[in-house]
Every structure is written in structure tokens, then in C-alpha cells.
Symmetry: C2
Subunit: 218 residues, 2 copies
């Protein structure tokens, strides 16, 4: 699904660090100061060994009798995951999915911010949706440069997606998260993830069917 | 991220079969009758060896000099992935994300159909959104039973998600696809996937940052 690879830290560990951080932030909010690896593991349905291995990989080892210091661990993960500067993101396609993603992200106070959107719908272009301005796709290159956008999220209709590849490359975008059903390929310099929701729902349905069939056999 | 496992076919292969099928359907629409493994591979940014291995795993081997017969291969994948009967899906949380998912799915003519939604917003309950009826969550068990729902998609606010676990178990749901940031855990009899969009965007951002740092070093 992805062409990210080639960091010292495996992709799956990066995903889990992002997930641990969200749980740790929620613990921190509730006034919890320490957490054991097996408790953190339980929150994510994995083993304590996996949690300890992930944290060892990033060089975190301050496990005490009380467990990990929640605040220190959050800071530690911040240093791994976050860029020193805020990274600006643009959404291409401001339909329901684009708007859902924008709301979701910008309410979280992350270092990642969706700062602008692109669409071709005259009802949307020139307006502000959830506090972010919506531009026409024919201004893409210019706006990406002036707003210092490094990542785009593609939530356009699937048929439009292939036409976005060249503008994205030309504008110097560094990362792409593609939610359409059209798998897109970019040159090695661009980090990209194809993330089709249909695939995951079909997978869940498949394993539901498999269980049903196995149960009927027994 | 998931607790599906334990089928003869690996999860990743199931995901790729779903992706191959979408590409094959698109080829079929364009009148393409045959496709070589390396062409199919190229469409998904993977190797031909991977494609052949996946198809071997499901027992498909009718590779000819002209490549795979597109229509036959689609049928073959249908037999693996699809249930004989239509599987009914409900969406819990009919905000932007819920509506995006519903529109997206039901326009695709899949065997999976979103047939109903649940919310607690009085503006939504009792109405029809994109042709599907929206019920109040307090009717959940009753509607799941009368409409024969086997899978739910959770697109509620994250803070609500943990309160849904017990109703889902009680209603006899068999599969859960959770899009919120709260990882949910279900008993082994229920197939579940936690699929948090934030994680993937943070991962893309991380690898963009890594590349930048490596480029600066060189």
C-alpha cells in the first residue's frame, strides 16, 4: 500500500507510536502520570513485549517500578514523530470526506495542520469551509508555493485522481495521502500512501464470512 | 490494528485481492480482456512476483500467453471475497465521515451495502440521508435484528466510541470497522479493525520529515 520504507524505524512502529501517543495524551488529560507497558498494550490490543520493543527501537528505556512516565514518554514520541516546524497540508476535494478529514484534524491541535483546500465546484471555490479557504485547482501550484504546503490529502472523486499526479509533482509536494480507489504512483522522492476505505471494509466482510463458514462446519 | 487473522489466506493478500478486483473491473469497463501480471503489478506499485504469489494462494493459475483473462479473474476473486448473500452494513454516526462512507460505498454496486444509519442528533433521526433511514441509537438492537445487519462502521465522535462496545456485542454484530481514534476491543467472535486516519497522516508526515533530514545531511 505504501512506498514510505527506508527509515531506521519500521512503518508499523511509526503507526503504533502515533497510536500510543493518542492514548497517552488521553491518559495525561485524565491526570494519569504513569502507565505500565502491559496497560498501554491492553489499550491497543497488542502484547507488552511489542510495546517494549517499539519503545526500545526509539531509544526509550525509562521504565520504572511505577511504569512509564506518561508526560516524558509523550515528549519522547513528539521528538520522533513531529517536525520542528508545523507541516502544512492541503485537501484536494472538499466533499463530505474532505470536510470530515479537515474537521477531524484541525480539532486535534496536532503539529500537522490542514491550511487550505482545493476543489472545482463553483459553490465551494472562493469560500471558507471550516475556517480554511477553498481555491480552484487551477491555482494549485501558486497556492502550494505561497502557503508552503508539503503534504496533500486526496479526497476527490476516484475518476479525478489520476489527473492530479502531474500537478502534484510539478508543485513540489513531498507527501501524498490518497483516499480514492485509484492507486497513484509517484516518483521515489515523494512519500505516498494509497488508503482505500473499500479495501478495509471488504477485508472485514471477508473474515466475517470465513468465520461464519467455519462455524457452520463445526 | 486488527484481530482478523486465522484464515488460510493472509490479511495482506485479502487487501490486495480487493484492490486487484477494483483495477480489473476498471479494465473490464474499458474493454480490456487480458492483462499480464506485471501490468496488474504496475498498477499497484508492487512486483509481478507478488501478484502471481497472491493468485497462486487462491488457486488461480490460468495465465496464458495473453496474460490473465480479466473477466475470469474477476469472477474468481468474487468467489473468494464475496458472501453468497448480500451483507448488510450499518453506519453509526452520520456526520461528514459517515455520509462520505455511505455515498462512496453505495455508489459502487458492491455486494456490501450500507442499509441503515444510527445517530442521536434529532435533526437526523427519523430522516432519510442518501436514501438510507437514520434511527436513534436507542433502537440499535431492534433495528440490527429486523434489518439483518452483520457489520457496523463506526464514524461517531471519538468520545462516543467506547460506549458503543456493549450495544454492538449485545446486538450480535459480527464485524466492526472503527474509524475513531479510540481503539476498541471486542471478544474473539467479532472481527474488528481500528482504522484511524490520523495515524496514516502522521506516518506520511514522519517519512516526509525523515527524507528532508536525510537530504540535508547529504
Amino acid at each position: 500500500m505504501s512506498n514510505v520504507s527506508n527509515s531506521n524505524i519500521p512503518e508499523k512502529t511509526i503507526e503504533r507510536l502515533s497510536e500510543y501517543r493518542r492514548s497517552l495524551l488521553s491518559c495525561h488529560k485524565q491526570g494519569i502520570t504513569h502507565i505500565f507497558s502491559h496497560v498501554l498494550a491492553g489499550m491497543h490490543g497488542i502484547t507488552a513485549v511489542q510495546v517494549r520493543r517499539d519503545l526500545m527501537l526509539i531509544g526509550f528505556s525509562s521504565d520504572t517500578k511505577k511504569g512509564y512516565d506518561v508526560k516524558v514518554l509523550i515528549e519522547f514520541i513528539n521528538n520522533i514523530l513531529d517536525s520542528e516546524s508545523v507541516m502544512n497540508i492541503a485537501v484536494i476535494g472538499m466533499g463530505h470526506l474532505g470536510q470530515a478529514i479537515t474537521k477531524y484534524f484541525n480539532s486535534k491541535g496536532l503539529k500537522l495542520r490542514i491550511v487550505t483546500a482545493f476543489d472545482i465546484d463553483p459553490q465551494k471555490v472562493g469560500t471558507t469551509i471550516d475556517d480554511i479557504p477553498c481555491y480552484h485547482m487551477n491555482q494549485f501550484e501558486e497556492v502550494v508555493s505561497s502557503m508552503d504546503i508539503s503534504i496533500v490529502v486526496i479526497s476527490s472523486p476516484t475518476r479525478v485522481a489520476p489527473t492530479l499526479v502531474v500537478p502534484i509533482i510539478n508543485a513540489g509536494i513531498k507527501g501524498v495521502l490518497n483516499f480514492t480507489s485509484a492507486p497513484l504512483h509517484f516518483p521515489p522522492g515523494i512519500v505516498s500512501e494509497n488508503y482505500d476505505i473499500t479495501t478495509i471494509l471488504e477485508k472485514v466482510a471477508y473474515f466475517v464470512k470465513e468465520r461464519d463458514e467455519n462455524n457452520n462446519k463445526n
